[in-house]
């Protein structure tokens, strides 16, 4: 049988999605359900001093007005997972009168209909004692801090790290660049809004809730309400895009559960688009300095990377902003520094390619700047600094295909047609620029479990509390199970998105394939073992009496090893057993492998832009990404995932920016007409290639993950192309017309 892993299958859930059969959180309407609408603070900092609930309670259909004055004190027991900031404490919603940021929930209205609830929410008068918030990182009163979680010597994201003496080497360097790069705040803005339907049955709570991490939502809500996790069930079979915004359990989930308990009816709560700009995280604004020193031959002699990210005043959100500079290039003198700037904003969180996407923008733009200082082709410069090992961790890479990615990309993109000088290429009136950047993201793997079940009809069911926010988890996991079991894809059903399934790690960080895929493989092998045990003990089986190592599986049939007999099918084994055969298993990375190897995916991203020299319009004309990311389970879905990431990168480079009014911290463009993301007309031909990469170390499947790396590298490639086109170096994202107008 040819391998099922590696086949470009279409999405097995595609038909359900396009025909409306797929049910998203807000689709799970419950009998007798009421509607909840959140009222957000209209000041950026201060206290709630009065809420006129009485008048609103008399409005038609209004069942409850819940505020800090009448909300029960919730236990908010200690609970933190790795997706929550390690330092600080989560927002305790409706537990006090403090307003910590604009839009923070100060009340929730429950009514018979959504219209009545919205009407009442708009009518609720809340009086505040307002204070001036500080939301601008450049505000003179804001002070950077050393992140607590980044100070232990073994911190994955160290506040300070160095090798050699980067500052002295920089001073001594004959050729150098030293520049500061800024990235705007971005909001995830998936199509599907956050939504939770909450229903209590006695002390048991069911949440149909948009989540990338159902078992953590279960644990978090249980901790907040002080009830056992077994009393909470979280269900989320489909996600309409998330990009990280549904990793954490945000206050609206608590409010839905709280409201449902107060009114003793099921409650549905869907955030508005506007609310999704303030209470569900964002990519933090960052300011980074990168300084590079080099010898005339292009070899780096110094790399300094200092980055500051914004966070809230109540939690320290950290991301791997400077991590890439530790391992990307060969350089004996490297110093990185990472700080946080607490502001009067909601806590940021992971947004596709967190840390690396922002960090690589600064590093790869600086490399591009250096290439012009040195007069060396930007790809050649990267080749000359290709390291033989991870010099930061002082260990070999499990695999690294960056130069192979550049080889293939150079050829496919037609890099040789590029004239080296800035502002040297034209197409008619338009200025043409070609830019390039490296991409990278760690190949993580976390512990995951899975359950496999063989049924009487010869089919198999797989269950994991995993998620599919769009990459095609349903399909790729089915492929892994089908391949492992030797069954056709059509005879395997993969189920996910329930907290009572075997636990999976968060659906983020590009580790679902490695983590959940490995667990499914393990569970399938386990259930085969269980089936074999039953068969070899069954007198009616052709393999009866065979020792455990005397049998083998071949295309879904068990036979004596080396024999030519057809053996016994799953169906027959299950029939003999009289009931389904089930096994669970877990998988995690061998810690010894992690100690010995540095494991990352790498890629090369190319972009061509056209800039109108008269009016400054910047359009990406084509882009190409080449990735070395281990084994590709489904090339069609993998390419689609990369295309999506590249589009996200175009948004990051040229469009996305949440603009806050510094007077009260309100986002002024919290609307899809005003917060720009690329539309179809902005997206040219995007090409995706994968280089063959066999990595025997990362995990038994040899997979690295693609979700993040597909976005990482796009923004600097575009920024570098804009420089090549115009001769103007724009170091702040997004690059808008006004930034290149006077080029």
């Amino acid at each position: 049988m040819t391998s099922i892993i590696g086949r470009p299958l279409t999405r097995i859930d595609g038909r359900a999605k396009v025909t409306g059969g797929a049910r998203y959180a807000a689709d799970f309407n419950q009998p007798g359900q009421l509607y909840a609408v959140i009222v957000g603070a209209t000041v950026g900092r201060g206290r709630v001093i009065d809420i006129d609930s009485v008048r609103v309670l008399r409005m038609p259909g209004v069942v409850a007005v819940i505020t800090h004055r009448n909300a029960p004190r919730l236990p908010y027991g200690p609970h933190k997972s790795y997706i929550d900031p390690a330092a600080g404490e989560r927002l305790h919603v409706l537990q006090d009168d403090r307003v910590r940021f604009y839009g923070q929930p100060v009340a929730v209205i429950v009514a018979d209909t959504i219209d009545q609830a919205e009407r009442a929410a708009a009518a609720l008068h809340v009086a505040y004692a307002a204070e001036r918030p500080v939301v601008d990182p450049s505000d003179p009163t804001s002070r950077p801090i050393v992140p607590v979680a980044a100070t232990p010597p073994d911190a994955r994201i160290p506040a300070d790290a160095s090798r050699g003496d980067a500052d002295k080497a920089l001073m001594d360097a004959a050729l150098k660049v030293d520049a500061t790069y800024g990235i705007a705040r971005e909001n995830h803005n998936p199509m599907e809004p956050h939504a939770t339907v909450a229903a209590w049955d006695g002390d048991r709570l069911t949440l149909w809730s948009k989540s990338q991490f159902v078992v953590n939502e279960q644990a978090e809500i249980a901790a907040i309400f002080g009830i056992p996790p077994e009393s909470v069930q979280v269900i989320c079979p489909f996600i309409g895009g998330a990009f990280g915004t549904s990793l954490r359990t945000w206050p609206h989930v608590t409010l839905a559960a709280l409201a449902a308990r107060q009114v003793r009816r099921p409650v549905k709560l869907v955030l508005t688009r506007k609310q999704m700009f303030v209470t569900t995280g964002h990519r933090p604004r960052t300011v980074q300095r990168v300084a590079l020193g080099a010898a005339a031959n292009g070899k780096l002699t110094s790399l300094v990377h200092e980055g500051t990210g914004e966070t809230s005043r109540y939690e320290e959100f950290i991301e791997a902003l400077t991590a890439v500079s530790g391992y990307m290039y060969a350089c004996s003198n490297v110093r990185t520094r990472y700080r946080l700037l607490p502001l009067d904003i909601g806590t940021p969180n992971h947004m596709r390619g967190p840390g690396e996407a922002s960090g690589i923008f600064a590093l790869e733009c600086a490399m591009d700047e250096l290439s012009y200082v040195l007069g060396i082709d930007p790809i050649e410069l990267r080749r000359r600094n290709e390291p033989e090992m991870d010099e930061g961790e002082n260990k070999p890479f499990s695999s690294r295909s960056l130069t192979k990615c550049y080889d293939l990309g150079t050829e496919r993109f037609g890099w040789s047609r590029r004239h080296p000088g800035p502002r040297s290429m034209r197409d008619g009136r338009l200025l043409i620029g070609m830019g390039v950047a490296s991409a990278t993201y760690p190949a993580f793997q976390a512990r995951s479990s899975a359950r496999a079940r063989l049924l009487a009809d010869g089919t198999a069911e797989i269950e994991v509390a995993a998620s599919d926010m769009g990459p095609g988890t349903y399909t790729s996991m089915t492929q892994i199970a089908a391949e492992t079991l030797g069954l056709p894809v059509g005879q395997v059903r993969f189920r996910l998105g329930r907290s009572d399934y075997p636990p999976a790690p968060s659906h983020g960080g590009s580790w679902t394939m490695a983590s959940v895929g490995s667990a499914i493989r393990a569970a399938c092998i386990s259930v085969q073992g269980e089936a074999a045990r039953r068969a070899t003990a069954d007198r009616s089986s052709p393999v009866f009496g065979a020792p455990p190592d005397g049998v083998e599986w071949n295309e879904g049939r068990l036979r004596r090893r080396g024999g030519s007999a057809p053996g016994q099918s799953y169906r027959d084994i299950v029939a003999s057993a009289g009931r389904p055969i089930e096994a669970s298993a877990s998988a995690q990375r061998d810690p010894d492998v992690a100690r010995r190897y540095s494991m990352h995916a790498f890629g090369a991203v190319f972009a061509e832009v056209a800039v109108d020299p008269d009016v400054g319009t910047i359009r990406v004309r084509r882009a190409l990404g080449v990735y070395g990311a281990g084994r590709i389970v489904n090339p069609r879905l993998a390419a689609s995932q990369c295309t999506g990431g590249m589009i996200g990168g175009i948004g990051m480079a040229l469009m996305e920016r949440t603009v806050l009014d510094t007077r009260d911290g309100r986002p002024v463009n919290a609307h899809m007409a005003d917060y720009l993301v690329p539309v179809n007309l902005d997206i040219p031909k995007l090409e995706v290639h994968f280089v063959d990469e066999e990595d025997p170390h990362v995990n038994p499947l040899g997979v690295k993950g693609l979700g993040e790396i597909a976005l990482v590298g796009m923004a600097p490639a575009i920024a570098n192309a804009v420089f090549h086109a115009t001769g103007k170096r724009v170091r702040d994202l997004p690059i808008h017309i006004e930034n290149v107008l006077t080029a």
Binding site: V615, G616, V668, A673, I737, L741
Partner: protein, 325 residues
């Protein structure tokens, strides 16, 4: 959204009577419903005029006549529009998104409300929404705001692309109301904000836009609309320019120029037009004329770039018009 009455009318008389009694006309609803959901618009009663026979696109003599209920997409795609007034088609295609263009009527397009973010947020001050409350934009985020025709009370730009083209082409509109019928230039539909930014147009209570009439001219075919923005579709203009040229023997006889994204109403640039008369259609002439475009402009900290972008956009639009065969 606040509760509201809804009445579907079958005749113009019914419509005008209902509106004179306090009803608000609704056609495509693409602006009104959006704003009602945010409670920025709070009509007591809506009068659905979609059943009135006011659609249709025709050519009368050299005039293009567009019914007020014709949809943006329909007008943009109509062969007569493209043939006699390509500028109208181009300005429509550059507006909104395909979904919105399928719904939005021509009359509604001309009366759409401003895109100022503070106008759309009930918890911000806005003299247009709540007269006398103040203007949050002047000291706030104002990168999209106007540099021409502003006052200390309001700096919001008029959002319509179509209106820019219509004003450039001296289009007129016919309206009917309780006091009967009248016609006037589209340009006169719009008021400057002055001290009364809540008064945006010159229609009398109950008046209904019946049709828009675009007179043909020797410049009609040599006309282009250029809209400058950070994404290629579905974004309001940072700056836009409508330019139409009548060129005879290599000399400009007449020019029609208007700009969008820069004024508190669609901004006709007559001084620039006059400066082009008798000139050859070359870049230097366009640049010299374009310098006049920003005379009297009052930029804010966030929109200073428009002082640079407006002349450049105008020059480019004129070049594009001049290149039309």
């Amino acid at each position: 959204m606040r509760p509201f009455g809804f009445e579907k009318v079958r005749t113009e008389q019914e419509a005008i009577r209902a509106a004179a009694a306090g009803g608000r006309y609704i056609a495509g609803g693409t602006t009104l419903v959006d704003l009602m959901r945010d409670e920025v618009e709070r009509p007591e009663r809506l009068v659905d005029i979609n059943a009135l026979p006011m659609g249709g696109i025709s050519v009368e003599g050299s005039d293009l006549v567009i019914g007020a209920l014709a949809r943006m997409a329909e007008v943009a795609d109509h062969p007569e529009t493209k043939r006699v007034q390509p500028l109208i088609a181009e300005s429509l295609i550059e507006g909104a998104s395909p979904q919105l263009r399928n719904m939005a009527s021509i009359g509604g397009n001309l009366l759409q409300r401003v895109r100022c973010p503070y106008f759309r947020m009930l918890d911000a001050t806005c003299n247009k929404r709540d007269p006398g409350s103040g203007c949050a934009a002047i000291q706030g985020i104002n990168s999209g705001h106007a540099i021409l025709g502003t006052s200390d009370q309001c700096v919001a730009t008029h959002p319509s692309d179509l209106a820019v083209a219509l004003v450039a082409l001296d289009a007129t509109m016919r309206v009917r109301g309780p006091q009967g019928e009248r016609s006037f230039p589209v340009e006169e539909l719009y008021r400057l904000p002055g001290d009364t930014p809540h008064l945006e147009h010159t229609l009398h209570p109950g008046e209904l836009i019946i049709e828009v009439r675009v007179p043909g001219g020797p410049y009609s075919r040599r006309a282009r609309y250029l809209k400058v923005r950070d994404r290629a579709s579905y974004e309001y203009a940072l700056v836009s320019a409508a330019a139409a040229l009548d060129i005879d023997n290599g000399v400009i006889r007449q020019a029609r120029i208007a700009a969008g994204g820069v004024g508190t109403r669609p901004w006709r640039l007559r001084a620039c037009e006059e400066a082009l008369i008798g000139k050859r259609p070359i870049r230097q002439a366009f640049e010299a004329a374009a310098r006049l475009a920003v005379q009297g402009a009052r930029p804010l900290p966030g929109n200073h770039y428009k002082i640079e972008l407006l002349p450049r956009t105008m020059v480019r639009a004129l070049e594009m018009a001049g290149e039309v065969a």
